[in-house]
């Protein structure tokens, strides 16, 4: 595990931000939103090559950089800020972190492929009610059947990471896509910059990655909640910048609307929210890896995800309110941020779910 100093992280942030300012412009985001594939392979190769994004969380033993969720949080703040359309969140962040939470003896080759940028993976942890995935061991290996949904980027992923629960034990499997046993159905999405899918598995061949993934799955989902919070921070921070810029420029009643106290106070509350999100994400990212104490990780994940899930939508909504009519048009990017933020709000536990878990942790509700 490498650690970085805060100066190194700021330098890294500048590099990522500089790259995305060129590669993830509003025009490019809108082009990819409308595109069924939804990401640019050239840009992705540069992100993995020049910036080492897909190797960031991969251990050095598997050919990665062996960095931590703290550095990944810096990346995701920037991908949220620039609405990047690419499998950075699904594959390089969440799926890679999930693999880091699994048995190292079995995940090495998969992690090497991810680090090299030759493999894309996605975590498929949401099972369709009534069609839970089951795993059967056959002579040729394991086969999975059932359906998973809300799977990010399943149309471009090479591997689905599927946790399966049976007899009180959770196993983690890798399922290769591109066979007839794996049917990928596109869902209608709120966040147009990130595609989601239902995937039907019909005795799909699968590789067992971890025979006892119970604690690993908890770690992966709590880590994912913290990583999602980092994207929420980045997107909300950008909303605040857009709102301030508009308040300085737009005139009503003969003066910039930023001179009106009502606008000032709305934006001051957003600043307060963004600064609190920033401190919370910074503190929580230290706990987002598999090495941290599970109880501490769960607690801080619920604190930061519930805070950001409530604060970030408020900031995006305020942006639209300050913009007025123009904020309600398709042409203005405000709704693209609102859509991403509202989607991230619901992913890996919305505020209500994390608050309910905290109520149990605090013993205000029975466990």
């Amino acid at each position: 595990m490498q650690t970085t100093t805060s100066d190194e992280r700021e330098e890294f942030r500048r590099a990522v931000r500089g790259f995305l300012a060129q590669a993830s412009t509003e025009d490019e985001v809108r082009r990819l939103m409308a595109d069924p594939v939804g990401y640019d392979r050239g840009t992705w190769q540069r992100l993995t090559g020049e910036l080492g994004l897909s190797a960031l969380l991969v251990p050095e033993s598997a050919g990665g950089q062996g960095l931590t969720p703290v550095e990944m949080a810096v990346v995701l703040e920037e991908t949220g800020r620039s609405l990047l359309c690419a499998p950075a969140f699904s594959s390089a962040a969440v799926a890679t972190l999930a693999l880091r939470c699994a048995d190292r003896s079995l995940t090495g080759p998969v992690l090497s492929g991810l680090a090299a940028g030759s493999t894309l993976a996605t975590l498929a942890s949401d099972q369709v009610p009534g069609r839970a995935v089951t795993a059967a061991e056959a002579p040729g290996g394991w086969r999975l059947s059932g359906a998973v949904t809300h799977v990010l980027d399943a149309h471009i992923a090479d591997l689905l990471l599927v946790p399966v629960t049976a007899d009180g034990r959770v196993r983690l499997f890798a399922v290769g896509t591109g066979t007839e046993a794996v049917e990928v159905h596109r869902l209608s999405v709120l966040d147009l910059t990130r595609k989601q899918f239902r995937v039907d598995l019909s005795a799909a061949p699968a590789q067992l990655l971890d025979d006892d993934f119970g604690a690993g799955l908890e770690a992966a989902l709590d880590g994912a909640a913290i990583l999602a919070s980092a994207e929420l921070l980045g997107a909300a921070g950008r909303c605040l910048e857009l709102a301030v810029a508009y308040a300085l420029e737009r005139e009503q009643f003969g003066r910039p609307i930023g001179t009106f106290q009502a606008v000032k106070h709305l934006l001051a509350d957003c600043l307060s929210a963004v600064e609190q999100m920033r401190a919370a994400v910074g503190a929580a990212a230290e706990f987002a890896g598999p090495e941290s104490d599970p109880a501490e990780r769960a607690e801080i994940a619920s604190v930061v995800k519930s805070y950001c899930s409530e604060a970030a939508p408020r900031v995006a909504e305020t942006l639209i309110q300050v913009l007025g009519g123009i904020g309600f048009t398709w042409e203005h990017p405000a709704h693209l941020y609102l859509r991403r933020i509202k989607s991230l709000e619901m992913m890996y536990g919305n505020a209500a779910r994390h608050r309910a878990r905290l109520a149990r942790t605090l013993e205000l509700e029975p466990a």
């Binding site: 949904t149 869902l187 209608s188 009502a262 009519g325 309600f328 509202k342 992913m347 919305n350």
Partner: protein, 373 residues
């Protein structure tokens, strides 16, 4: 009142099945809705508040609300010419010449579909800051400028247009109203796509558009007062919104009552639904108080702005709760659905027809008497 509602219900009972038989699965189409408005107009129900000479019944506000509620309960589509029936018609009736009043018949029958050209890109909340100009040239005004957020702009045959006719006067005193045919040369209409993907508004561009002087509505440079007639009618419509809002809340709650299929909601969401119910009930009481004041011939008091403020904020919160109740389906669901649509749509509630900030300022200055800043 009872006799009136009895007549209306009998009318609806006869006409509703006829309509559905005729239009089948195209009942929501523009043509079907126009057809329905003609049927309603023939029965005297399209604009019951208009005077009988113009095809109405001259009913008061209490009757009007009861009629609207009964019509809404029938499940029939909204009348497509609503802006003409509610806003433009009454303004023409109040300010128009005899020649101009001939538009009223067309409004009733959908031969004329009216829109209102009020908002401009540079003047959102500051409506009186509009810059579209009309300059007199012989028997015409020549209009140049741009309008935005024009409801029904894509369908309209006519527009009630607000223009600056005296650029030297203080901003409220140099404005006039023109009645404009939308096929006049020089008018270009472009749809505005909204964040929810729909396009119910348009931008309208005017380039050297010639409008006959006879189409001036009300006195020259008195457009601000003329428009107030219309805005007043628009505002009293909030009473109907609150009635619909109560219904919406009750329906959302009914959809989440636990039963065999539906598990109980988490307690925090139960409490939020109860909060919405309380808001909706109190708003309903406020709006009935306003209607009974109006019915007694009194001024409406501060209720209309209070209702606009409280209703729009409450509606937005309700959409937020609906979003959360739908869980992950609000962000991704099977093809053919439109996840998050209502949440996105509700963003406009606190912006359109006066932002919440503007309404608060109006309440503070006009009702509480606080000084302008």
């Amino acid at each position: 009142m009872d006799r009136l509602l009895h007549e209306l219900r009998a009318f609806l009972e006869t006409e509703t099945p006829r309509f559905h038989e005729k239009w089948e699965d195209r009942a929501d189409s523009w043509e079907a809705r126009c057809d329905w408005q003609r049927t309603m107009a023939a029965g005297g129900w399209a604009a019951p508040a208009w005077s009988p000479e113009h095809g109405g019944r001259g009913v008061g506000v209490a009757e009007l609300l009861a009629i609207e509620e009964a019509t809404a309960a029938s499940g029939m589509p909204a009348l497509p010419g609503m802006l003409g029936l509610k806003n433009v018609g009454p303004t023409i009736a109040a300010w128009g010449t005899e020649a101009q009043k001939r538009h009223l018949a067309g409004i009733l029958t959908t031969d004329e579909v009216w829109c209102q050209g009020f908002s401009e890109p540079g003047a959102g909340s500051d409506l009186a800051g509009l810059r579209s100009r009309a300059v007199r040239d012989g028997d015409d005004f020549v209009v140049n400028g741009q309008k935005i957020w024009t409801s029904n702009g894509m369908y309209a045959t006519h527009m009630e247009l607000l223009v600056r006719t005296d650029p030297e006067a203080p901003k409220h005193q140099g404005i006039s109203v023109l009645l404009v045919e939308m096929d006049t040369p020089g008018i270009e209409v472009r749809p505005i796509r909204q964040i929810n993907g729909e396009a119910e508004f348009a931008e309208v561009f005017f380039t050297d558009v010639r409008v006959p002087v006879g189409n001036l509505l009300g006195p020259l440079n008195a457009g601000w007062q003329v428009t107030r007639t219309t805005l007043g009618h628009e505002r009293s419509g909030v009473a109907i919104f609150t009635a619909r809002f109560e219904k919406q809340v009750r329906e959302l709650i009914a959809d989440h009552v636990p039963d065999g299929d539906r598990p109980p909601l988490p307690p925090a969401l139960v409490d939020r639904l109860v909060g919405h119910y309380i808001e909706a009930r109190v708003l309903g009481m406020l709006s009935r108080q306003m209607m009974s004041r109006l019915a007694a011939g009194q001024d409406p008091g501060p209720e209309q702005s209070v209702i606009k403020l409280a209703w729009s904020e409450a509606l937005q919160r309700l959409a937020g709760t609906g979003f959360e109740l739908d869980g992950l389906d609000s962000i991704a669901a099977e093809q053919g659905t439109d996840p998050g649509h209502e949440y996105l749509t509700a963003r406009s509630a606190t912006i359109a027809a006066g932002t919440s900030q503007i309404v608060r300022t109006i309440l503070a200055e006009r009702v509480l008497g606080l000084p302008r800043g």
